[in-house]
Symmetry: C2
Subunit: 452 residues, 2 copies
């Protein structure tokens, strides 16, 4: 199948595919550990349920399914040559706590639709029961990663890191909030921790990795455009910080005798905002914060908080961390507090491969030429000759997968820029455009691959 042939398809097939994706997002949203909200973390019973459902949908789309040794759900559409490498398409099915229904999930379901649209059956000669296969020199594989958010064990990208072969056995001792280790959770899920390396793929097995994702910010909406090429994924570091002071009686301890850890941590959180907000493309967030012993009438002797620090460039991000560290020294010194930190995540910026940026751009161009768009209201509002390119401050599975293969990403417009929240949204029309653009991108890559 070529890009030209895909363009000749009835545009309503993309809308039908998008309707199925939206309905399935709703169906997965009901699989949650928190009734009335969406929370689905790594190696939970909900994880097992969505994997089973995704596998069913993959098989229904003609894919050969398996769950790998890290709990990732995979679906393969092989090439004619069974030894040929694969292009991986996908995203993750886990969520943050009290999440929206599209982050990650929509990308997995769109990948299934794209593979369904692109597959070929050799039914001309051998009948309708012939297995589906990739029309390209490479196979197509849908990956539903098991952990991208890191909501349970603090460490993000566990699923894609296993695939990338960058697993660190120290992670087995990470604990969730209930004190269950990653090792215990894996065993309970039915995985063998000793075999996690079997999930790792070799670079030679892969042509690349393509992912569609909602934008987790307001940029496309502000520009009035439905789709964008992603240029790079933010570099990210995550820290757990501890401030130590002295627990004292709230009534009897005068201010000048206090060493209040909570106030030191409060100043630190505000310093992060003050320092980062004046920088370009640097974002620091304190998302967790707790004071101990946590009684109304005791001056807190300890405070713990998290810092998530992202930047477009590693060096810039590290320079800002140094600045924050110096500021913490000042604050804690002035308040006679001690502070220390543990880095729990460190991922360098991931630059999307030029070829994959090109094919995603071609996919968007092919999709948004006047007359071809599914959603008439969007027509003409895009700039097909010059697809928008965005930097992603949010992390994605590509950050891990980038260790073994080229990565490309497609962003879809997010009406309010809201993500990691129940109000997270994407329109049916934009998902239809996204499915088409991703399919076009894969077809362009197929054509490029054949030429090289």
């Amino acid at each position: 199948m070529t890009a030209a042939r895909l363009g000749a398809l009835d545009p309503t097939v993309f809308e039908l595919a998008a309707r199925r994706v939206m309905a399935r997002c709703d169906e997965l949203a009901r699989i949650t550990s928190t009734p009335g909200a969406i929370t689905r973390v790594h190696l939970s019973p909900e994880h097992a349920r969505v994997n089973r459902l995704a596998a069913e949908w993959m098989r229904e789309a003609g894919l050969q399914t398996r769950q790998d040794a890290a709990g990732n759900q995979l679906g393969l559409l092989p090439a004619a040559d069974p030894e040929a490498p694969v292009l991986m398409l996908g995203s993750h099915l886990d969520t943050v706590v009290d999440a929206g229904r599209y982050d990650g999930i929509v990308g997995v379901l769109m990948a299934i639709e794209v593979v369904r649209l692109l597959q070929r059956r050799d039914d001309d000669t051998s009948g309708v029961d012939a297995p589906a296969r990739s029309p390209f020199d490479f196979g197509l594989e849908v990956a539903a990663f098991s952990d991208e958010e890191g909501a349970r064990f603090g460490k993000a990208l566990l699923g894609s890191s296993a695939v990338a072969g960058t697993w660190d056995d120290a992670w087995w001792e990470l604990e969730d909030p209930d004190g269950t280790t990653l090792r215990e959770a894996a065993l309970e899920f039915g995985l063998d921790p000793g075999r996690v390396s079997e999930a790792a793929r070799r670079p030679s097995e892969l042509v690349g990795y393509l992912e569609a994702h909602i934008e987790q910010g307001p940029e496309l909406h502000a520009r009035g455009e439905p789709l964008a090429v992603v240029s790079s994924i933010a570099s990210a570091r995550r820290f757990q910080l501890v401030v130590e002071g002295e627990a004292r009686h709230a009534g009897g301890t005068p201010y000048d005798m206090r060493r209040d850890a909570l106030l030191g941590a409060s100043e630190a959180a505000l310093a992060v905002e003050r320092i980062c907000s004046t920088q370009h493309h640097i974002i620091g967030t304190v998302g967790q914060f707790e004071a101990f012993p946590g009684a109304m009438n005791i001056v807190p002797g300890e405070a713990r908080f998290s810092l998530d620090l992202r930047g477009e460039f590693d060096g810039e991000r590290d320079r800002v961390w140094d600045q924050i560290s110096r500021e913490l020294d000042d604050i804690m010194g002035r308040r006679r507090l001690r502070w220390h930190t543990r880095e729990v995540h460190n991922a360098p910026a991931l630059f999307c491969a030029p070829l994959l940026q090109d094919v995603v751009g071609e996919g968007i161009r092919s999709t948004l030429v006047p007359g071809s768009a599914v959603d008439g209201s969007i027509l003409g509002s895009g700039r097909p000759e010059d697809p928008t390119t965005l930097f992603s401050p949010a992390g994605h599975d590509g950050m891990a997968i980038g260790a073994i293969t080229d990565v490309g990403m497609l962003f879809m417009r997010n009406p309010d820029g809201v993500s990691h929240h129940p109000d997270e949204a994407v329109s049916l029309g934009d998902v239809a455009l996204g499915i088409r653009a991703l399919a076009e991108a894969v077809a362009h890559l197929g054509a490029e691959h054949r030429r090289t």
Copy 2:
């Protein structure tokens, strides 16, 4: 028994009594829900255990014991006239989380020793088995209150409020951190919530209430004095505050689109410190603080924190709360956040009764006259002619009991001013002086009472 007769006792009896008190403080410290630390909250299994032990010690000292309908442990030494009112002596046996071993506890154990020292048996005529009785026109009753700290249900003074007849049935619905209501906890403890009013005492039943307590600050230590008369107990209000913003993705949400509840709450905590620290005898403390949903990669949409606000005078304290409220309006308005609060405790300042201040002062004077002190090292460092008088920024059971009777308090020196912390301390010598001063105070009151 008169003050003069008490003064004729061998001073070593006070040291022996103090040794028993210190040993029992150590024994009670081992009854905790948190091994390695001291935590003993209202209506817990540990509460039941310390009540049983206190009752045993009370009986061993000749008292008639009972546990009242609010879980307070009481021990009575009746007067010759069984209808006579009683002077209540005591404090509380509950603790904050990760507490010291003296706050409250030492006052209960000292009261037992004082009653043991003062009691009379009519053994001259009727033999050794005659029951002990008060030598005064009033009975003596030791009260070990069940809840002063409020560590479990947020509301402090539950035990003494029941005794004061100021119980509010709305409190039954208060929840502990596990979601157990006060009603459920009472039932589980074996109490009948419908009968809590039976714990209430009438003003006519009481002569007054006297309590010995460690100072929860550094003032006596700084002055080099072992004991002080307490003039008043701080007025206190406690609030639970909620800040509401919007949970957003930590990577994708630019600073100008954020409504970060944690940063608003951090500013609020610092504002409390800034406002209160410039006032005389006003102390505000943020002891609890939590952010939600509490994930590293989500901008917090909600933050909850507590405020404990104390002052020597109610009006001054309320004026400062108004100032804090206006500051919160400013902060939250600027950050596009909402805030609301629930007041969980409001106690007016309690002024100790002039007569009880006088007898406590007499008790200290009688104790610290040169030659009578137990601990020679302290001798002469006090100023017996003019006992130190201190305001108590910390709350005490007298705040509740003050609703039905006169209150008097005696403070003992606290070497580092530390309280609500494992390092809380008081010396054996100061406890011995305290026991003597409290016994002398009761004897002086007995003499006063006879005169009137």
